[in-house]
């Protein structure tokens, strides 16, 4: 019966969404064994694996045209600069922004901190409200706690309904009360919940509030257009979208970037430096002090090209199929509690759960013995854990190379864990 179920889905998956075998071939790590078993990598919300094309782009840079960008006028320097800026254009195109609006950072976390420092330090005042949600990642909470402490602003967190969806009426009411800033994640990294950020940003704009969208889990998994979202800032990380570590993006609306003070000081972000002061460079360079992660940017472009060739609509559909299949499969495991929205359409490729009294860390260890890599813990979302009333959850998260077989393996692993724990 289970086989029939699985194969019905598989047919669909193979024929309609992705050429899975070909894609899996592109990821060298998938050949690796863990504890003698086939690697089943289901920790993609933490970081994704890299296709050969991304690795090759890094090697090519280091072996053929490694040089500092925007500094040296020699052939290597010019080639490095060209490729670096081509990456910026690629990132801009990917989210339908202009290259001038793309600031390279280390990742989502630095992107949000940049907004906190460069915009927030001047703009957030005593008594202001910073509106967040209970499902934010620490990187969209802690910077604002620090800003609030410094300025005397107050934080307010919008609550979730029983399915872990944002209470939109509460959100809209809170926006009516004119917060200074609304920070919201487009997809929860724990619940998978997709938020209607376009609606939230529209309301925020009306109310004169700045909108900051954490797109760490959305840009890697679905088409995202900053025009449609209508946000002021949007942040994401390369390493979660098949790209290298060390590189991320802050999108910022051009006018805002122009008005803002710089963040870090140093080379590249200046136009002129004198003993008694400096003039800033044009945006986005004003926000890119010091040597950037040039290789990282170049690797990110390779990842963006790879994803674009597949097509982000297809990536999203593949996620959806896997999710439906996973939810179905996990519902069949007795003693397992699933978190997040019931309808797959309201979720991205993340499934969180707990199995009876088995602690997620113990579960992760047992699954690891089977070659299955999931994340266990608080997922950098402790306030959400408190709201769920748990100290931790287990989380399986997907990307383009995951298959029904991976989910079947997960299910078998869960059954094994129940055996070990005598359940």
């Amino acid at each position: 019966m289970e086989t029939a179920f699985s194969s019905r889905f598989s047919v669909l998956l193979k024929s309609q969404v992705l050429e899975l075998e070909r894609i899996r071939e592109d990821f060298p790590i998938l050949k690796r064994k863990v504890k003698g078993k086939r690697l089943v990598y289901l920790d993609n919300a933490a970081t994704t694996q890299k296709p050969r094309r991304v690795i090759d782009a890094l090697v090519d840079y280091y072996e053929r045209y490694n040089a500092n960008a925007h500094r040296s006028l020699h052939t290597l320097g010019i080639e490095a600069t060209e490729e670096f800026e081509k990456s910026r254009r690629g990132a801009a195109e990917f989210i339908h922004a202009s290259p001038r609006e793309i600031v390279f950072t280390r990742g989502t976390t630095e992107s949000i901190n940049l907004v906190r420092f460069a915009w927030g330090e001047d703009q957030i005042k005593k008594g202001d409200t910073i509106l967040l949600t209970l499902m934010e990642h620490h990187s969209n909470i802690v910077p604002w706690q620090l800003a609030a402490k410094r300025s005397g602003a107050v934080l307010k967190f919008v609550e979730l309904d029983s399915q872990g969806r944002l209470k939109m009426d509460e959100m809209e009411e809170a926006i009516e009360r004119s917060p200074r800033l609304v920070g919201v994640t487009q997809c929860s990294n724990v619940l998978g919940t997709i938020n209607d950020v376009a609606r939230i940003c529209r309301r925020a704009k009306k109310a004169g509030a700045l909108s900051v969208v954490d797109a760490a889990q959305s840009v890697p998994h679905m088409p995202v257009s900053v025009g449609e979202v209508g946000c002021d800032f949007l942040a994401f990380s390369g390493h979660k979208m098949l790209g290298p570590t060390g590189i991320g993006v802050l999108y910022g609306r051009r006018e805002l970037l122009e008005e803002m003070a710089p963040f870090q000081g140093g080379g590249e972000m200046i136009r002129e430096v004198h003993l008694d002061g400096a003039k800033w460079n044009d945006v986005p360079y004003k926000f890119e002090a010091g040597t950037a992660d040039i290789a990282g940017a170049i690797g990110l472009l390779a990842a963006i090209e790879y994803l674009s060739e597949i097509g982000m609509e297809k990536v999203r559909r593949h996620d959806l199929e896997l999710q439906r299949y996973a939810i179905e499969a996990l519902k069949g495991v007795r003693g397992l509690q699933l978190y997040g929205p019931e309808r797959a359409e309201e979720r991205s490729g993340v499934v969180s759960f707990n199995l009876a009294d088995v602690h997620p860390h113990d579960l992760a260890t047992i699954l690891d013995g089977e070659g299955i890599e999931i994340r266990s813990g608080h997922h950098c979302a402790q306030p959400l854990m408190e709201w769920l009333g748990v100290s931790a959850t287990s989380r399986a998260s997907f990307h383009v190379y995951n298959s029904y077989d991976d989910i079947d393996a997960l299910k078998a692993g869960l059954e094994k864990a129940k055996e070990v724990f005598g359940l």
């Binding site: 504890k35 602690h359 860390h361 113990d362 013995g369 813990g377 100290s391 931790a392 070990v420």
Partner: protein
């Protein structure tokens, strides 16, 4: 790091932790958490005459390894002189757990209780040294 480390005895201590609870009347109290996984252990000790561990209880939340090892440790420590805690080693704790092959990540879970008991006892002994009324 796989299923083999979950020996019967560990699961038993996880589900039925000995010395679980909170002493109301205590001399030593310490708490720590593991930043990686969020496991928490708090211990309280009532020192008996002669500087021994009289009563000891722990509370906490976390995985089977961290909770079982803390519980085993409280049983093992009871009636031992405070100084004995100084010599308690990582190996002692692993022996209590039946020497599982924990690997570098999970071993921190196993040693959280040890860290807490040592912290508490050191603080207590340190404060006594500094306390002039102790007359030493």
């Amino acid at each position: 790091m796989s299923a083999e480390i979950y020996k019967e005895i560990i699961l038993d201590y996880y589900r039925h932790p000995r010395n679980y609870g909170k002493l109301e009347n205590y001399d030593i109290s310490a708490r720590d958490s593991n930043p990686l996984c969020g496991d928490e252990i708090e211990m309280r000790i009532k020192v008996s005459d002669g500087g021994k561990i009289g009563e000891i209880k722990f509370q906490g939340k976390g995985c089977a390894i961290s909770q079982a090892s803390a519980s085993m440790l409280t049983e093992f420590a009871k009636e031992k002189p405070l100084d004995w805690v100084k010599d308690l080693s990582k190996e002692d704790v692993l022996k209590l757990l039946g020497n599982p092959d924990l690997g570098p990540a999970r071993i921190k879970c196993a040693l959280l209780g040890l860290k807490v008991i040592k912290t508490g006892v050191y603080q207590y002994l340190g404060a006594k040294l500094e306390d002039p009324s102790a007359g030493e």
